[in-house]
Amino acid sequence: MIKKFDKKDEEAGSGSNPFQHLEKSAVLQEARIFNETPINPRRCLHILTKIIYLLNQGEHFGTTEATEAFFAMTRLFQSNDQTLRRMCYLTIKEMANISEDVIIVTSSLTKDMTGKEDVYRGPAIRALCRITDTTMLQAIERYMKQAIVDKVPSVSSSALVSSLHMVKMSYDVVKRWVNEAQEAASSDNIMVQYHALGLLYHLRKNDRLAVTKMLNKFTKSGLKSPFAYCMLIRIASKLLEETEGGHDSPLFDFIESCLRNKHEMVVYEAASAIVHMPNCTARELAPAVSVLQLFCSSPKAALRYAAVRTLNKVAMKHPSAVTACNLDLENLITDSNRSIATLAITTLLKTGSESSVDRLMKQISSFVSEISDEFKVVVVQAISALCQKYPRKHSVMMNFLSNMLRDDGGFEYKRAIVDCIISIIEENPESKETGLAHLCEFIEDCEHTVLATKILHLLGKEGPRTPSPSKYIRFIFNRVVLESEAVRAAAVSALAKFGAQNDDLLPSVLVLMQRCMMDSDDEVRDRATFYMNVLQQKQKALNAAYIFNGLSVSIPGLEKSLHQYTLEPSEKPFDIKTVPLATAPITEQKTEITPVATSKAPEKLAPSRQDIYQEQLSAVPEFQSLGPLFKSSEPVQLTEAETEYVVRCIKHTFAGHIVFQFDCTNTLNDQLLQRVHVQMEPSEAYEVVHHVPAPNLSYNQPGSCYTLVRLPDDDPTAVSCTFSCTMKYLVRDCDPNTGDPDDDGYDDEYVLEDLEVTVADHIQKVLKPNFGAAWEEVGADFEKEETFALASVRTLEEAVSNIISFLGMQPCERSDKVPENKNSHVLFLAGVFRGGYDVLVRARLALADGVTMQVTVRSSDENVVDVILASVG
């Protein structure tokens, strides 16, 4: 039968495509024979196939021509040719969105769906549901219910799957078919069982009790379909996660029992579910890991891939649990499927010892060019994690990374490498020069503006402090000559930092700046002119303020304040101190590069948490005169977790006031609270000025009330205070079902935990990228020094973290990391005190029995220095 084409093949050249030169108009022309009587099934079939093929190739059909062809096609329902009829159903589905009035075929499809020909029934249901809308669905509801419980599996499956598709559109109608779906779930046919389970879960997934019942039923009775088992495992693990069920739960037992299922698919699903569970211990992981280990030697590539990918995930959190598989993983590093080999190597890098690193790196570099960018990023991340684990290996890694940097690759890949090199530089001071050299080489030929500017920024920060800063100047100035505006501007800023730090380079930098002032771009020229003038002053303080340490205000806040200023012009110059500070310092906060990369959605300078609070608070009339919001604290819980009312407090500090925001939730469904406010009794000379109550607090609807407190003017050192808090409100009992409250209520109160205001609430963290320069800038006018003994602290790390959290200031120069095996350390902290005074703290720590700490504080205001020292003491 196939042979008959041989001759044609020879004529047309083998492999020619009968659909290759199809013309849409010609095919539509041909479609006219649909109207001929009698119908020629073979020719019509061929034409329908051509139409579907064209649609599949992405050919665009206009509404008119599609509708015309569709209506012609409806005539073909008169033919009884099976394949032709089936192709009609396909055409209906394909054209459902492009043709008009597709519902014309409803009656034909309904006839086929309820007819005697079983071959037609299933496909007819699926086609019918594709063109049905909510109103029409009610008309066919009776047929759908019957079809779901039909004894022919294909009919039942088709009805169940179509119902699932329609849940999105008409949940309320499909919901009524739950009983039929329940009946179908006990079918003998494995696919029907699977589809019924899927539909049932989808209808019930918001009702945890119903899901639990369903799980109990099926886990006890057992299922036939491996697909249904996989589904059940997913439902069970999701439920476990939601209920935070322990590993002694019957659901966990069920998942574990699936590890012994006879289908590999189910075994793998169960193993993967266990691995993905949060807080799984090594002992619970063990059975899952051992089945994955078996899969590693499977002849099926997909299974090996699945196993090693899952093991890779285990290795991130529990490297020791995977060590047992090291031998099997070793066998996979030469796997012909490079994805498998890469995953095996990166897993080994996580579990293996330091001695195996060199060998593995060599192995991986032999095929790194063959793998896709996605996996290259995985490799880079493994290296990054490795550098943290074995800092001594950084030279091998650096070498490897620089080779990868030279290869071709997309943006994500290059960015991962650059990030990794930067983190190595930050971790290992001795690798700084090699790392910077590799990066310099990279920006010579870098097409990604973002990376180039990032590297230039780093060069500006680190370069001037290296032994021979002059060698970086050439690389940076080349950028000014060759690159786009953004890179040129970044290069100018970097150059300025060299001039500011190194006096002997200053004359040359000034010459280069002069040339940048001729640039064609405004931003580049502006920067050059500005830096030129600052540098010419040769003043350390100016350099520190304007070149090393940039602005620390929040950018949306600045934008808003400037806008406000232009709206209300005044004689006074714009005061930068009225702008709220940036809450989270943007750079250098990379404490750890975890391999489990946090997924950040691409955000466009989204307003920070504090900007949102500022917005909310300024909407309250009483708070409008307070000025800009200075700092918002983290929420403090004022109640136990499982109480009638849950209250947490956020402290908003302003120049002369504090606003306490109480977020209250009423967890009693038979009460409506009204006029809720929190009474605060200060221990010091703080004055409670005003309450803003929450008008209504109904069941489970969080609401906020505020209390405004004025800080004492006469005693600026009174920064800490304890408040005893009581929530007062009017209770109106209500019907738990309807939520209707009684007419009258009664006053009641609820005692909350005490709330403390500490020195940290008055200080906003600010990152000074160059602490030394900032230290000089503030100057020694109000410097004070004192020595303390921290008797209760045993280690330097503990002392450092205590000081940071107590003062609420930003550690600079990575001084929050105490090098190992040292018995002295210097911690640099920077912040801004309420009122806009810069404050810097240098704490020298020495370890001997306890920790001795010498604290030096500098600030632009004497009171602030006193406040800090007083509170530390």
Binding site: M191, R234, E374, H457
Partner: protein
């Protein structure tokens, strides 16, 4: 007044970019329990041209251009070695080739790879039977209607409808042209008749 440009656009911009699709896809927790397993299925020829392709997730590659780019990318990364499974653009892709055809089934990164394999195997086996073991481009194109119907029976809107090739073939009930009333077949019938006569005489 010109202080604003001290804000380093370089450093802050880069730290806010999205991380690689791989990490987001590979590391996020187990997926929601759902019947929607298959994101896409397609068959390409040995030049990477699309012969048949269905995308079930409308959010994934909504335009034809994106779909074809994706197929090109997948083809370039997979046609050289028959490796069965790959991970590209945040998707798990299982594939198989036969003579001048490439079959692909695409699922999300968290999807059970073996489920996707079950779909791929079912697709291949069903076509193998319908095409009478001639799984090659020419034969596929001559029976394109059968191929469309097979895919329709295996996956419906991303849900695995059937995974047993035998069932699929029965449901499709497809006959390769048995009674073609063309010149060609008349000649063939004659030829067969001749041969049979010849054989009967020789006996």
């Amino acid at each position: 007044m010109s202080q604003s440009f001290f804000y380093e656009r370089s450093s802050s911009d880069s730290s806010k970019l999205s991380t690689s699709t791989l990490n987001t896809a590979m590391d996020s927790a187990a997926l929601d329990a759902s019947l929607y397993t298959v994101k896409a299925v397609f068959i390409l020829d040995n030049d990477g041209n699309r012969l048949l392709s269905k995308y079930y997730d409308t959010e994934l590659y909504p335009s034809m251009k994106e779909q074809k780019n994706f197929e090109k990318n997948v083809f370039n990364k997979t046609h050289k070695a028959d490796n069965e499974i790959a991970f590209l653009e945040g998707m798990t892709i299982v594939y198989k080739s036969s003579i001048d055809l490439f079959f692909y089934v695409v699922g999300s990164a968290q999807e059970n790879e073996l489920m996707l394999m079950a779909v791929l195997n079912c697709l291949f086996e069903s076509l193998n039977q319908i095409l009478r073991k001639n799984v090659e481009k020419r034969c596929l194109l001559d029976n394109m209607d059968g191929a469309f119907l097979v895919v329709d029976e295996i996956i419906d809107g991303g849900v695995i409808l059937e995974s047993d090739p035998q069932q699929v073939v029965e449901k499709v009930n497809y006959r390769t042209d048995d009674n073609p009333l063309s010149e060609h077949s008349v000649a063939q019938v004659l030829q067969t008749a001749k041969e049979q006569i010849k054989w009967s005489i020789l006996k």
